[in-house]
């Protein structure tokens, strides 16, 4: 229920492999000798670790969890970022520049590695060619409207053999033009000196970062860059994500130089990278900062992790260990106390190099801000991650909080964030939008609620490019690049449009006034609750007044009643009070102060044989009692004749056996049944719903699309027959209204930048709602859009479905056969186009749904989006004109037994929205909405436990 990220859920536990004690214990009983040794070793280490140092960051997992599903600080935040927030986008030189051999550039370790290890990467030269198409990159930056551009300098392009002597003129010219162009555009450059493309010569001659001579060589290169570019660059990043350099370069061998399993090398490389950074910082601090007045840091990357059981200290400790061994490895020396984290030192013992006291002093505090990277490279592949049996999470807000606690509330620049798509995704990167929305809202929450000092954000990346070990199989650009094309045009993806909009609005401001509307609903607005099928009580609960026998008591002294034979007394006629359940029910309704009560009759109970040959009078008497007892308390009934559900089709058995709704004669049987009900109850009931959610029977009659459409056809006819019967025979005397309730949820395009998604959303509404509404309220025929789309699918050979034809007589019967529009509205779905094959109702409409994780939703995945209700109301008005509208069900599933916070929140917001819809609609509809019934879809049973929400309706209804 909690919005944010899936990994938070405790449900993960049973999917992941755990190494907590229960598992260890379990293994001990199962394992062979060899395995036991490892168990003992791990237990030993665990004990040591427990007594170890604990960072402040642990508090994140230990803080008292707030389980409220509607806690404002957890919900999507509509707000803006601080003024002057730094919006940017980033690239890495090796990923986008291309032209590895052009103009005197030297080879890097990645050129070599790609050739030797990444054989599937067809041509390394086919990249986005930023080296050639500088102007195209600048246009892309202009399009988004960023305040900074983060790029890296290719070391071997400046110095082919790595030694900062004479710079390669062409390379120098490229970076000078780039910087000049940025300054001209008022785009702040943020320059990374080392994004993994080490000159190959340094690897071959010295063994790369394993050798500490690299520290001085790197410092020389940095000095040159400060001297040459420092007049225009105010933000410097020394190294991008040193964790990945050391871990994948020397541990897993996934990155250049591709060494595997050499733990000593892993930590030696890390050690040298830290020292190199620190040396460069001091260099800049002493020699350049005084006149250049810039800032310098190192980008540190990390994953995030959550404990299996937040209350379990061992799990929490493992999470801390996981974070410390990745982010803490570099952050603790640089942003912390100058040394490696205690937890790491205890675990790695002699493998971890030592800092001397002087070195600690030298390393400590060598960053002017915390540059943080949070992206897929720290999460892939799963097997190489420091999970410690806990749950990996993408909760950016939490990791920012961890940094705040561990490193003393630093200023943070997010220097890389984003996700990736598979390479087949071109410009329509819908998932990327939602991931960006999620990440950015978490950053906003961190700033606004947790007071984290984030001052800038880098969306990664500007362009599609070379994605390291993934080659070209994944894409991370905001701009799509066809690598096989000559011109390498940069085409904005949906995510580029989305990011542009966020930058323009500086966050997520409220688009329209959703401030609460004060005031009251019109006096004659009716409030109610709805119940599904009410099973009739067939035997009066007390035999006292129905037993005609005479008894004497204690004749023989046995204190028993003795029946007197041959005597029959006159019994009292039946009364409604005989049904004890009605009393309880009506009392509850009275307590909620509703004025309407909607319930459904049970067709099989009333007519067990399906026809009028057998009428269960007792059932009808029961229903009449429910109605009349309610009326005594001024609670008007709204009666549904037929209310099928997923588990109960609700047809009399003989009808079900003869084909149910696939059999046209069922429609006639329904007419007879409704006639009986009108006759027996119509003097008291003024609002009738013939069928509840006939469109949902598509889930039952789903063998083929044709079955679904045939059943729907018969349902429409059944409703129309009942309506005409009422209209002709009963309305003159009874003066009531008859309609049917359509399940009418709203559909919103998942990707608002994709035309196909807009079409899919409209098509979904046509298939869902117009399917029934159009014949009744408009044309007497199925919607043209639906007919045409199915025909189109037929032509494509993707479906053999056909919609039934209305005969001229049927058309006349159906058209106009409803006195108002009744809708059951629960949620809004995000819809996208997805071409599907199969002759089914579900596949005919070619839609797929998307779950917006930033949005509050119920356990059954229903999103709480109150504005959807207003949108569906205006869609109905637009399509079917000024109708009376009755909301016959609205609500949400909330499993809470006592305090149903989610339901309360839902009702409050949706009722607000109905009101706003009313304000809007009243101009067009006059006072028609005023007569609407908002029947809340919470069952009476649930409301029994939820006094507060009951009160809410009560205040609304005053």
């Amino acid at each position: 229920v909690k919005p944010g990220c899936a990994a938070e859920s405790p449900g993960n536990e049973w999917i992941c492999f755990r190494t907590d004690e229960s598992n260890v214990r379990y293994r001990e009983t199962m394992s062979t000798g060899g395995l036991q040794r490892s168990v003992i070793l791990s237990t030993f280490l665990l004990l040591r670790a427990v007594t170890g140092f604990s960072g402040d960051g642990r508090a994140i997992w230990s803080k008292s969890p707030n389980y409220s599903p509607v806690n404002e600080s957890q919900l999507f935040l509509y707000d803006t970022f601080p003024k002057n927030f730094f919006w940017g986008v980033g690239t890495g030189a090796f990923q986008v520049e291309g032209n590895w051999k052009a103009d005197g550039r030297g080879p890097s370790i990645w050129d070599h590695f790609t050739q030797t290890h990444l054989k599937n990467v067809s041509s390394v030269n086919s990249s986005s060619d930023s080296y050639i198409f500088l102007e195209k990159d600048l246009s892309a930056l202009d399009f988004i409207g960023v305040s900074f551009y983060q790029f890296s300098i290719s070391w071997p392009r400046l110095f082919p053999d790595g030694i900062a002597a004479v710079a390669n003129a062409k390379g120098l010219q490229y970076y000078n033009s780039l910087l000049d162009a940025l300054v001209l555009r008022n785009i702040e450059p943020i320059v990374t000196l080392y994004h993994w493309d080490l000159p190959l010569a340094l690897q071959e001659k010295y063994g790369g970062w394993e050798n500490e001579v690299l520290i001085d060589i790197f410092n020389d290169y940095a000095t040159y860059c400060f001297q040459t570019f420092g007049d225009r660059v105010k933000y410097w990043i020394t190294i991008h994500n040193p964790y990945l350099v050391a871990w994948h370069g020397y541990g897993t061998g996934m990155h250049a130089p591709g060494e595997k399993g050499n733990l000593a090398a892993v930590y030696a490389v890390g050690h040298n990278l830290i020292k190199a950074h620190s040396k460069v910082w001091h260099n800049y601090n002493i020699n350049f900062r005084p006149h250049q007045k810039g800032w310098l840091s190192i980008t540190l990357g990390s994953h995030w992790i959550e404990p299996n059981r937040p209350e379990n200290t061992v799990d929490v400790l493992k999470c801390q260990q996981s974070m410390v061994s990745v982010l803490g490895w570099f952050a603790n020396p640089i942003h912390g106390d100058g040394d490696y984290p205690e937890l790491m030192k205890k675990q790695l013992l002699s493998i971890l190099p030592l800092f001397s006291e002087a070195e600690k002093e030298e390393v400590r505090g060598t960053a002017d801000f915390f540059a943080f990277s949070f992206g897929p490279n720290n999460f892939k592949p799963q097997g190489t991650m420091a999970k410690m049996g806990q749950n990996v999470s993408l909760n950016l807000r939490e990791v920012l909080n961890w940094i705040k606690l561990e490193y003393g509330h630093p200023r943070i620049l997010i220097t890389e964030n984003g996700w990736f798509t598979d390479s087949h995704v071109k410009t329509e990167d819908t998932t990327a939008i939602y991931i960006m929305k999620n990440f950015l809202n978490q950053v906003l929450q961190a700033i606004r609620f947790d007071e984290i000092r984030v001052f800038g954000y880098t969306a990664w990346s500007l362009l599609d490019g070379f994605e390291w070990q993934d080659g070209y199989t994944t894409r991370r650009g905001l701009f799509y690049v066809d690598f096989n094309s000559k011109q390498k045009e940069r085409k904005p993806k949906s995510s580029a449009h989305y990011y542009k909009q966020i930058i323009r609005e500086n966050g997520f401001p409220l688009k329209e006034s959703t401030s609460d509307v004060r005031g009251k609903f019109p006096c004659d607005f009716s409030w109610g609750v709805t119940e599904s099928v009410l099973k009739p009580e067939l035997v009066a609960s007390s035999p006292q007044f129905t037993d005609p026998h005479l008894y004497v008591w204690n004749v023989t002294g046995n204190r028993l009643l003795h029946q007197v034979g041959g005597v029959k007394l006159k019994t009292r006629p039946g009364q409604c009070t005989d049904f004890v359940s009605i009393k309880r029910q009506v009392e509850m309704l009275a307590r909620m102060k509703v004025t309407y009560y909607r319930f459904a009759l049970d067709w099989p109970s009333v007519l067990p044989t399906g026809n009028l040959s057998t009428v269960n009078r007792q059932a009808l008497r029961y229903y009449r009692c429910v109605v009349s007892e309610g009326l005594k308390l001024n609670i008007s009934p709204m009666v549904t004749l037929y209310y099928p559900t997923h588990t109960q089709l609700g047809l009399p058995t003989p009808l079900q056996q003869s084909g149910g709704w696939l059999n046209p004669s069922t429609a006639k049987a329904f007419q007879d049944y409704s006639g009986l009900c009108f006759q027996e109850l119509g003097d008291l009931v003024k609002l009738w719903i013939t069928i509840n959610e006939p469109n949902r029977l598509s889930d039952i009659y789903n063998r083929t699309g044709n079955d679904t459409y045939r059943a729907a056809h018969n349902l429409l006819i059944a409703h129309a027959l009942a309506w005409h019967l009422y209209d002709q025979q009963y309305r003159p005397a009874q003066r009531g209204l008859v309609s049917l309730s359509l399940h009418s949820d709203w559909a919103e395009p998942a990707n608002p930048y994709a035309e196909s998604h807009w079409q899919a959303a409209e098509r979904f509404l046509q298939f869902e709602i117009a399917w029934f509404a159009e014949p009744l309220f408009k044309t007497g025929d199925y919607p043209l859009a639906m007919r045409e789309y199915i025909a189109f699918k037929n032509r494509q050979g993707l479906s053999r479905s056909t919609l039934p034809q209305f005969t001229e007589e049927e058309r006349r019967l159906v058209k106009g056969a409803a006195d108002f529009y009744a809708l059951n509205h629960f949620t809004t779905r995000f819809v996208m186009h997805s071409r599907q094959n199969g002759s089914h109702y579900d596949t005919d409409r070619d839609v797929q749904f998307l779950q917006d994780i930033t949005c509050l939703s119920s356990p059954s995945h229903l999103a709480v989006l109150p504005w959807g209700q207003r949108k569906v109301l205006s869609w109905i008005r637009r399509n079917y004109g000024d109708l009376d509208v009755y909301i016959t069900a609205n609500g949400i599933d909330d499993p809470a037994l006592e305090n149903d916070e989610l339901r309360k929140y839902y009702l409050e917001k949706y009722i607000q929205e109905a009101r706003k819809g009313g304000v809007l609609l009243s101009q067009k509809l006059g006072s028609q909405l005023a007569s609407a019934v908002a029947v809340v879809g919470a069952s009476v049973a649930a409301l029994r436990h939820s006094e507060p929400s009951g009160r809410e309706q009560q205040t609304g209804g005053q």
Binding site: R18, T19, P381, G389, R703, L850
Partner: protein, 245 residues
């Protein structure tokens, strides 16, 4: 846990089956067993251990990696067609595969990753692999075959897992032949959604509140996927709270 000591060779067959062999062999580096070179290094470094044991011990020792997650011991729960009558997948010693009413040693299975998103399921008691026959019938076989006994593990949004056979294009299911025939057209087989449940050791009773009622977003993060939260999963059914009672 028999079969573990087969070490790095235990998981080879599955690797040859991988449908998309990534841009490089490194893709499979989720496990040391997949990499002889790394494996040799580790075996030499920690004399006397097999590589698989090292996966676990090294991971714990370093505290930096967790290579050992490829094997899980679970009970596979599936709910019956008529309400929540409980059913745990059981691979009998004679090779028959059926429902056990409760968790027991006979329903304990070992789920082992054999390739990207592909698993082998083996009965701990019977030491037989769960395999699929031509008509979708399940059988326990002593010999692992990558075609018949490896299944694509797909986590559904409701938290249940589906194990799909690539060869037979059918999910692992405990339904009868008649049910399979009946439901073929609908694309859904009864008794094919499994909830992997942690075995409860005698000393620690199961946490009752959890596994049976999966939470809304209980599917784990798929960090190898472009859609890590599974937001665009193929959910086609439109549900209404008033219909889906």
């Amino acid at each position: 846990m028999s079969g573990q000591n087969s070490g790095r060779h235990g998981s080879r067959p599955g690797l040859d089956e991988e449908p998309e062999p990534g841009p490089l062999e490194l893709r499979a580096l989720g496990s040391t067993r997949a990499d002889p070179q790394l494996c040799d290094f580790l075996e030499n470094h920690f004399l006397g251990y097999t590589c698989l044991e090292l996966d676990i011990c090294l991971a714990t020792y370093l505290g930096v990696s967790h290579w050992g997650e490829s094997i899980r011991l679970r009970h596979l729960y599936t709910s019956g067609p008529h309400g929540p009558s409980s059913c745990f997948l059981r691979i009998r010693v004679d090779g028959a595969v059926d429902c056990a009413r409760g968790q027991s040693a006979h329903s304990l299975v070992e789920i082992r990753a054999v390739a990207l998103r592909k698993v082998a399921i083996k009965g701990v008691h019977s030491a037989l692999y769960l395999c699929m026959e031509g008509d979708g019938r399940m059988r326990g076989l002593p010999q692992f075959s990558p075609e018949d006994c490896a299944f694509e593990e797909e986590i559904r949004p409701d938290g249940y897992n589906v194990y799909r056979s690539q060869k037979h294009q059918l999910p692992v299911s405990l339904s009868s032949a008649r049910q399979r025939q009946l439901f073929k057209a609908r694309g859904f087989l009864p008794l094919s959604h499994f909830l992997p449940m942690l075995p409860s050791s005698p000393a620690e009773p199961v946490h009752r509140e959890r596994p049976l009622e999966p939470d809304a977003f209980s599917s784990p993060l798929e960090t190898d996927s472009m859609d890590p939260f599974g937001i665009a999963n193929n959910l086609r059914l439109v549900k209404s709270p008033s219909f889906q009672k």
